[in-house]
Amino acid sequence: MKELVENIEKQITTDKEVISVLPRNGIKAIKTLLKTIQEMTEKYENLNEKLLKEIEERYDNLTTVEENTEIPQIEQEILKYDIAEKNTDTRSSFEKMGLDRVIYNVNGYYKSNLERLNKELIFSIKQFEKVGIKLTADDFCISEYAKKYMEVLLREAYNGDINSEAVKNQFEKVYWECSEVVSHLYVNIRYIYDKYESQIDRFYNEKAQEILKGLSLTVEDVEERKADLIKKKNQIEETDNKNILDKFYTGSLNINDYKEDNYKRIYTELTDKDVTKLSDIEKNEIDENIDKLNTNLTEYAKYLEYKFLVEQVLQTRQELLKNAEANKDKKVKKTQYELTKEEIKKLQTEIFKLNSKIEKPSKGFFERKKAEDKKDSISILQRNNLVLDLKKAYMQLDEEIINQKILQNLDETSSLFDVLKFASSYYGYMAKAMIKNNEDITDKEIGENAEKIRNFINFSNFTVINHVKISDTKELSIIIKDKYKLLGMQLSKENFEEDSIEDLIRKVRIINNYNNIQKSKFSIKDLEYIMNVKEMLKK
């Protein structure tokens, strides 16, 4: 301890003694003592003020960190390539438009609410507009109910309130006329897509060509550029001053984990080496491996969250392959997909034939005959049943599409990443797998999880699951463990067990973060100081 600190301590002890030895008998002595205490208080208050000022100044100096301007620039670049990737990837136009989510949510309306339904309906209208198709209520021609509802919804949307009283009243009115109105809307969106499918495909093809031409890149180049940028961004963020500080501020990092003793203990536990006895070259090599292990484990942990999706796809694939094997000798003229497509076409024709009958004006405008009314009612009933059949056919088609694509796009050389990306491309499929995995999941949670999964797929720098093939028989955890054991890391199968994996990830992360902090402007002592003062001054 410095002499100055010792002197202050001594002074405090002396002053304490002065107070305790001064006489307290008699009013004169008491008054003298009070005066001494007051004078002393004033001196120490001045000192305290000086100390607090110094503390605050140092805190402000330490925590004044410039925003790294490179990070938002890279993020912009990543988004540019992400948009390019989303417009040029192999998903169908239906998924590119986001209609997979719309139709899932419209179909699950009974679990949701009217506001959400309206939001999805307007979203789909806007998506069609983006691809050059301006829809009006007349396009909702599957039934008079769908049209009547969309007339009011579109009018109110134009006025800026899709949840107005008029919309609610219209829904109520139409619902009591036909309680399956939402199924009609579902079928109608799908019908509109079918009607304009070739035009929409053309739009995306032209857009993809235009984007790639503009960038002078191939689809693979776009993917590669994006991956490189994500890697670069992650690397910068790891040692970025503001990023490090924010992690401590938000509580994502705890300063107690970064005390030197803790670091040394975990370092030895993971590497079997005394960090203080390592040469710079040795330490750099080990730290590099810890950095890679940290990246791999973070990816692995995230993958575990979504593993059920991969398992679901692989299980479906196995069943499809088994069926294909069992039926390989049977001569099949048309696939199930083709048959369902034909069924849809047939149902659409029948529905519109009935619609034209229903819509035909009666002979006498005011004197509609009872027999004609009856005829109309029968036609409406038949049409409504056909709409429900069409809905079922569409849902069947979705399954057929997924099955067909699983067989077309995935084979033994596909990676776990390919499978996860595949699953994440189909909202309805993903949602069903989530429900299978957790029966209590809500639609809102499905939406949030779907976004998280898609963000994980779109904005990660993959180093593990993109290399491991679905035909690999070794468990992913063993693959990671074996690699780092070869590099001298003290890992065992037990570390990767459900109860232990979090602890391993935490320890590796502490070492890696500690090493990264050393590369920033902060020392651990600085961060300790910052966190202490933050708490003290309630900053």
């Binding site: 301890m1 410095k2 100055l4 600190v5 002197n7 202050i8 301590e9 001594k10 002074q11 405090i12 002053d15 304490k16 107070i19 307290r24 008699g26 009013i27 008491i30 008054k31 003592l33 009070l34 205490i37 007051q38 002393m40 208080t41 001196k43 120490y44 208050e45 001045n46 000192l47 305290n48 000086k50 100390l51 607090l52 000022k53 110094e54 503390i55 140092r58 002592k525 600085d526 300790e528 100081y529 202490n532 003062v533 003290m536």
Partner: protein
Amino acid sequence: MELKNIKTSNLENDELLDTQKQVESFLKFLNGEYETVKKLEEENS
């Protein structure tokens, strides 16, 4: 030692915080003493 002449800038971060804690604690002590002696004054007057 004159308290007003203390150069706080010469203290290390942890020393600065420790010293401030000690000063703050001593100020609490002084405050307590003042209250006690003030009561004593009232009793004697």
